[in-house]
Structure formats: structure tokens, C-alpha cells
């Protein structure tokens, strides 16, 4: 009996200590981790999407709640009006997730630009989706509220040859962005007002 109590006590203490330490380390590093992710993956894409904006998109951001998670949104100010939001969605590709940033004009509901931010697809195949502009150049100007598909699956988007899966994943991610946009539009519209000056 005494041994059993000791076992339970020791296990509980070790588990709670571990939980405590991890919570502390998590708090300690979370800003730096977000920053690294931003600098390494999102910043270049974000700047291309919001080219010509009069503000610094990296600084103009807010968070909205989508499902259980928080979603970071970046704002672009054009002609004095904060009318463009950019956020990131993802879909599974061939080997891992493909992250796509999508910029949407709040007034016209049209796509301003997209960009692949992070992916671990096979070099030379799926990797082209990030480097080659052929895929992402097809999106600007399209209405966000629709389902995007590659031609092979009966859609309208030309896939990069040899990277059909990744191209399809990019399409799915943009579609996902549209689904979120439908749901979050009223909130996004209120949130961007804080950036008008």
C-alpha cells in the first residue's frame, strides 16, 4: 500500500513539474517562434501580395478567432483605405502541409494575390509551386467565394506539370480561405477600421 501511494505521488509530481516547466518554456519562446515563422516564411510573401500598400503590413496585424484557433490577419492600406486583408491557410500536399497566404479585397471580395509560404514538398517537383509564378499568377482578380480546382479535377486552374498534388493542395487552401472569409467577413470589416487614419 505504502509503495503504491509512493508510486502515484512520484508520478504525479513528475508529471505536474513537467507540465509546469513546459508551460513556462512555451510562454518564454512563443513570441520568438512566431517571429521566426513570420520572418522566414510569411514576410516575403506578404510583401509581394501587398505591394504598393502605404503601410507596413508586418506591423498592421490583428487576430480573429476561427474555430478553436486564433488566426493572424495582416492589413494592407491602399489609397488611404485599409481594404485588404491577408491571412494564411493550409492543406495537406504530397508529403506535408502546404501553407498559402491569401490576400482578399474586402470591398470587392476578389483575390489580390496568393503565395506559398511554407512547404516541405519534394525538391524539384512540388517545390516549383513556391518558386514558379505560373500557379499563383492565375489567382488575382478571381472571386474568393468559389471552389478552386485544378483542371485534372474538373476545375479551371492549370497545375504545374509534375506537381499536380501540390497545385491541388494550393487550390484547396485558397478554397479554405474563402470558406473562412465567408464566415469572418463582418468581423474582419470591423477590425480593419482601426488601421484607417
Amino acid at each position: 500500500m505504502k509503495e503504491l501511494i509512493k508510486m502515484v505521488v512520484v508520478l504525479t509530481i513528475i508529471s505536474s513539474l513537467s507540465g509546469g516547466v513546459l508551460a513556462y518554456v512555451n510562454d518564454l519562446t512563443i513570441d520568438q517562434r512566431d517571429y521566426q515563422n513570420l520572418i522566414n516564411n510569411q514576410a516575403p510573401t506578404l510583401k509581394t501580395i501587398l505591394e504598393g500598400a502605404s503601410n507596413d503590413p508586418l506591423e498592421s496585424k490583428f487576430e480573429v478567432k476561427y474555430g478553436p484557433k486564433k488566426m493572424k490577419c495582416y492589413v494592407g492600406v491602399f489609397d488611404g483605405k485599409p481594404n485588404t486583408v491577408v491571412y494564411e491557410t493550409y492543406k495537406s500536399g504530397y508529403a506535408d502541409k502546404v501553407y498559402v497566404m491569401v490576400g482578399i479585397n474586402l470591398e470587392t471580395d476578389k483575390i489580390v494575390g496568393i503565395g506559398v509560404t511554407k512547404h516541405t514538398e519534394t525538391k524539384g517537383y512540388g517545390a516549383d509551386a513556391k518558386e514558379k509564378p505560373d500557379l499563383k499568377n492565375q489567382f488575382p482578380g478571381l472571386d474568393i467565394m468559389q471552389e478552386f480546382k485544378v483542371k485534372k479535377e474538373g476545375g479551371t486552374i492549370d497545375a504545374i506539370s509534375g506537381a499536380t498534388i501540390t497545385s491541388a493542395a494550393v487550390c484547396k487552401a485558397v478554397t479554405e480561405a474563402g470558406i473562412r472569409y465567408k464566415e469572418l467577413k463582418p468581423e474582419l470589416e470591423t477590425q480593419v477600421k482601426q488601421f484607417s487614419n
Binding site: L11, S18, R33
Partner: protein, 207 residues
């Protein structure tokens, strides 16, 4: 103490060098050794976890009841692995990306749990640290060596850059007419390369 601390340290570097002499912990060996940087980075991350968990296990060895020892080891190791993961993500992002899923998988690396069970649980903390450090550095060396062989033969180049401190870059080591064995970078090449290195170790190690 049967062996001195120096001996405990040394044994990890040759006599029991993982993964060659104990065929354990092979998964990261095959997966992250496409480049020398990946190999060394993985080795150092594993070394950190090994030393920390060995230290804590040996300090707590009188408190941990034998029946739940494995559970305790696992929690301790998993905690340090999570810390390493966060640290790499925050301060060495490129490496974090390269190692990917294999950082959390340090937790199931047989080498780490094996040292807790076979050594740290039975020894004082000084030899335990020496043991962790020795085995860890041995592991790092092996991974680095495999990474170097695969990178040099597989791409013809050798580059590494750890935390911006240790930089080395050499391109086209064998000249521009060298056609790299891309086979070695792909999955099947990993098996063959490690198998042949193991064979080489057997020849060198044979008395």
C-alpha cells in the same frame, strides 16, 4: 566506482558508439543525414536531451520507484525534447525545418531511453553526465560522418552553417565534370550508405 569518469566518456566515442555498435536509434540516422548540417544538428539535439535526462534520472534514482521507472523516464525525456523543439524553432529555424518531425521523435530514440535505463538509473550523477555526453557526442560524430559522405557524394558539395557560427562551404569538390550520385540522397541510398559504413567499421574495428 569501477570506471573513471573519463573512461565512461570515452566508451561512447568508440567502444559503444551509436548507432554503429549498438544497432539502435537508426531512424534519425537514416532520415536526417541527407546533409552534414542535419546530421550534426540532430546529434547535438539528441546529446542535449541525453545529458539532461541522464542527469535528472540519476539525481532522482532513489525517489523513483522501480515499477514506474519507465514512465518517469519517458516523462523526463519528453519534457526535454519539447524544450529542444521550442528552442530550435525559436533560435535555429532552418535546422528546425530540416529536422522536422524527427525532433519530437527523439523521444522514442532507443539510445536515449536505453541510457536512462541501463546507466543513469544505477549510477551517480557525475558518471551519468559523462556517459550521456560521450554517447551523445559519439552519436553526433556518426551522424555527421554519414551526413558528410551522403552530401559529398550525393551532391558534390559540402556546406554547413550551424547557428551562423561555424561556417564552411565547398562547392564542386570533385570538379565540375563530376556527376553526383543522387541515389545517396534519396531514401534507398540511406540504407545502402549506412550499411556500407557499418561494414567499414567492422573491418577497421576487427582485431
Amino acid at each position: 566506482m569501477a570506471k573513471s569518469i573519463a573512461q565512461e566518456f570515452k566508451k561512447g566515442l568508440w567502444d559503444e558508439i551509436p548507432p554503429f555498435n549498438l544497432v539502435l536509434g537508426l531512424c534519425p540516422v537514416l532520415a536526417v543525414t541527407k546533409t552534414i548540417a542535419g546530421g550534426i544538428g540532430m546529434g547535438l539535439a539528441t546529446t542535449f536531451v541525453l545529458v539532461c535526462s541522464n542527469l535528472l534520472v540519476s539525481l532522482l534514482r532513489k525517489v523513483i520507484p522501480p515499477k514506474v521507472r519507465i514512465a518517469c523516464f519517458i516523462i523526463i525525456i519528453a519534457t526535454f525534447v519539447t524544450i529542444v523543439k521550442f528552442a530550435l524553432e525559436a533560435y535555429a529555424y532552418d535546422l528546425y525545418n530540416e529536422l522536422g518531425m524527427f525532433i519530437p521523435l527523439i523521444v522514442v530514440n532507443c539510445v536515449v531511453l536505453g541510457r536512462s535505463e541501463a546507466f543513469a538509473y544505477k549510477n551517480k550523477f557525475a558518471p551519468s553526465i559523462a556517459d550521456g555526453l560521450g554517447i551523445g557526442l559519439g552519436f553526433t560524430l556518426s551522424l555527421g560522418a554519414i551526413g558528410a559522405v551522403r552530401e559529398i557524394l550525393g551532391t558534390g558539395n559540402l556546406t554547413f552553417n550551424i547557428l551562423g557560427q561555424f561556417k564552411y562551404e565547398a562547392t564542386e569538390i570533385f570538379g565540375s565534370s563530376f556527376e553526383p550520385f543522387t541515389f545517396l540522397i534519396e531514401a534507398p541510398g540511406a540504407f545502402v550508405c549506412v550499411g556500407l559504413l557499418l561494414c567499414l567499421m567492422n573491418i577497421v574495428g576487427k582485431k
